[in-house]
Symmetry: C2
Subunit: 141 residues, 2 copies
């Protein structure tokens, strides 16, 4: 998968990769809701089309934000897991959530497992990452 | 300008607004480089097409992330300024920059005025916002 980068700026280059309406929604589903399968991603309330989902998963895999594997007990279904590079999007995801919570009051932060820790963002981010890492460990063990 | 929101999640709603390759590049140019005019935005190294630039500025204005005005001494040229809602994207922009710096080592954080303060993100964000606010004050005074 070819990806062209517009400049040597790390902001625009990150947006070359993740600047679309879906990539970070998929990362949200993995990181905050522990989703792992194509079926789980396709059932999110945003209603992603399966073609777009397949293409975004492929892109995230190509750039090593996620890995695809099969579990020994189920050789039919792929499961998708965030790599460290993907889990390190937690601070960015949290800022997206907080900005949306502040400026789109019709949208509801309570829908996300981010409650009660707003004052201490660093702890919240660490908690999200530790939680995901323990899901990861449990899954591939 | 109609904008449809996919769900009541603040993450996906923020991406409905800002999840594209250009909106945050324009915010970067305003916030970190103090750019204010159409001409200045169009001269960024990413080479935004003028039609896309015009449409993104209109969207950012519609959703009150920026305001457009004219200066008394120059009635020909519009200048664009971030609102508080726009300036409050600083934490998100900083996270985008740091993730890009960490995971796209071919891209160069030194290009951005973000040097030396990596350890203290909160101070960096405050400094960026204060700096922008003083540009704002000087411009409209």
């Amino acid at each position: 998968m070819k990806k062209s980068f517009r400049s040597s700026c790390p902001i625009s280059s990150t947006l070359d990769l993740l600047g679309d309406k879906w990539s970070l929604v998929i990362v949200r589903d993995m990181l905050l809701f522990g989703k792992q399968t194509f079926k789980e991603f396709s059932q999110s309330q945003e209603g992603i089309a399966t073609g777009i989902l397949a293409s975004r998963l492929k892109k995230l895999e190509t750039f090593r934000l996620i890995t695809k594997r099969k579990l020994p007990e189920n050789q039919k279904e792929n499961i998708y897991l965030l790599t460290k590079k993907g889990v390190d999007l937690a601070p960015l995801i949290v800022e997206v959530a907080y900005w949306g919570d502040k400026y789109m009051p019709e949208y509801n932060l309570e829908l996300l497992p981010l409650k009660g820790l707003k004052a201490d963002k660093a702890s919240l981010i660490k908690q999200i990452q530790n939680n995901y890492n323990s899901i990861f460990e449990k899954t591939i063990r």
